[in-house]
Symmetry: C2
Subunit: 417 residues, 2 copies
Amino acid sequence: MAEIELAKGTKNINSEQKLVRNKVMNVLVKVFELYGYLPLETPTLQRYDVLASKYAGGAEILKETFRLKDQGNRDLALRYDLTVPMCLYVSLNPQVKLPFKRYEVGKVFRDGPISSERFREFWQCDVDVVGTSSILADAEYINIILDVFKELNLVVVVKVNNRKILDEVMEYCSIDKDKRNSATLTIDKLEKIGSDGLKKELKEKKLTSDQIDKLIKLICIEGNNKKKLDFIKKFLKNSEGIKEIEEVLAYAPDAEFDPSLARGLAYYTGIVYETFLKNAEIKTSLVSGGRYDNIIGDFLNNGQKYPAVGISFGLDRIEKAVKLNEKTSTKVYVIPIKQVEKSLEVLEELRSNNINSDMDLMDRSISKNLDYANTLSVPYVVFVGEDEVKKKKFKLRDMKSGKEEMLSVSELIKKLK
Amino acid sequence: MAEIELAKGTKNINSEQKLVRNKVMNVLVKVFELYGYLPLETPTLQRYDVLASKYAGGAEILKETFRLKDQGNRDLALRYDLTVPMCLYVSLNPQVKLPFKRYEVGKVFRDGPISSERFREFWQCDVDVVGTSSILADAEYINIILDVFKELNLVVVVKVNNRKILDEVMEYCSIDKDKRNSATLTIDKLEKIGSDGLKKELKEKKLTSDQIDKLIKLICIEGNNKKKLDFIKKFLKNSEGIKEIEEVLAYAPDAEFDPSLARGLAYYTGIVYETFLKNAEIKTSLVSGGRYDNIIGDFLNNGQKYPAVGISFGLDRIEKAVKLNEKTSTKVYVIPIKQVEKSLEVLEELRSNNINSDMDLMDRSISKNLDYANTLSVPYVVFVGEDEVKKKKFKLRDMKSGKEEMLSVSELIKKLK
């Protein structure tokens, strides 16, 4: 007999957690469709050569890609994100009308280091538009994020920046082109390492003190959007990046311009976003993304351009943040006291009125049944005994308060609905 | 550059298909929770030794199990069903209260032969109860199936039988115990091979003509439930199987007793079900399952008994059967005619009234926009031009009829809601 254990880096999601997950997913899907995005489902199993192609995820992610073979000895892999499968879909379906607006909620797999926050299989929840350069599309994502968190009763701030601004700032600071990607990775860690850490690491990366001071002066600014924009505009003349940010902020004024926002990934080409809880313990971004105008075209390599924007929701983090307490979706538990037939009738009435209902099927004692309903956190129980059947009134017990009342079936339905 | 292709035996699900899938899944989940079942999510990645253990799926399914290793050289596999992961959950969570009622909707993987109907990754949708021997639980599944198909507007017949009856019939026919499993597999093919095929195959399996004739006389009977039961009771005295079927039919009289129903899998121990569309092209079962009182206990091997019942919904087949025509979930497409600001205002009004809305973001011509909305099957478009803005009335076009009318924003909302 094998040792009965889960695979390393995986976990079971019990019903309480899964009920929360389902609620969050339903909110996301509802908002995505409200904005005209349609669902897509791509395969988990992919050809390894497709995932490993030069313009897919890159060498870093390949190290964490689970590989396997089928019986025909084909090289396969488990998808590590939802972006490459989307590119593949666009490539295999040239009839797809652009702009192509799709969302996908699906599991991805990464064979990387694990922690209490990092698992080897996890859900990604992506929403992307392919085929438009319009800044209106960039702005739309801010509104999607804000709508999602409004529905989830969470107060967030959406920070925006533009990769073009970062590049223009580095140009202004005379930072060599070949050092800019590496500097961007350091800037991305600002929140974590602070400005002293930033200085130290940029120094290690051979930037001069003058360059570092200038850079910090321009990206670490305080104040509202207007103040920050006015300040930075003094240094960047005719900036395309600033023009775009101003346009985005005109359409989505609730976003917060943060010129230090970098986003680690190299492929972003324009507006980028991160989303933080206001006044909360969780300091990491709940939703991130941005514009990536080159990767789909590079990947498809058919001579066409595919400008695109997309964001990814961190489901695990959002689930931790939402204050949903979903112990059960069952509303009431029926306890028959030697009255199985009548109990089944009551049960059927409740269910046909869309009240999630359960019943003891095992002829257990009242105390065992109460213990069961209590452990499962079912909020109400109904007793169906001889007395109840005679009076056509049934004892409903509120499991939290202990309060009991005698109700007819129609009163029960009214109360529980 | 890799050849851009999907892995063999996988497919993309486009938005039209996925919208149907989501609707079907939502109906299933709603009905499961109505009956007091709670969601569970188990990992896709599993330890190979667990999936390969003697009491898991058995040798046949192991041949079709995708195997892989992580960076720590651990032997892993992709789950091939949702039952073994459920057993594992019960084993790892001994505090779980019995009866444990759970459903899971998730992808499973099998590296087997493919066809237009068989893929290497597909959804399973299981609902099971662990820890009760009550026949009420068996009956409940018939009602779950009937409720699901009522919601989906499909007319089905649920056929039931009892493995115990089959065994008793074979006892009556003096068929050796060691031939019964094999005979059951043949009986399972009756629908496909007909009674002549059945005779031929049973003959090949060394049953005598007398045994075969007796068997066919008892399992191939016509008529309503009462007639069939009365007939079979003449031959089986004090039959436990018949007693159980009568009890199930008392609680779920709409099911159809079919003594020839076998279900291929060896592990069923009691009531079994299959579900067929009435008068339809699809002849295969849409939902199947039954009671399996031994496998969880055998798998956990802790000396306890875990009587269980469960059914599995064939999502792909149900999706093909439902007459849902989901071209898009988007209700209206806004076409700005040099009026982007005003169009965005209208769009926001629509969305804040929960109307799924899209808008041209690319400053395209009217004809290109109409073509786009038409290809995406969006049922309505709204034009926002100078004239409309002046009159505060907007032209709404029904894309199917071509009918146009001028409506205020509140009239638009009323019409589209």
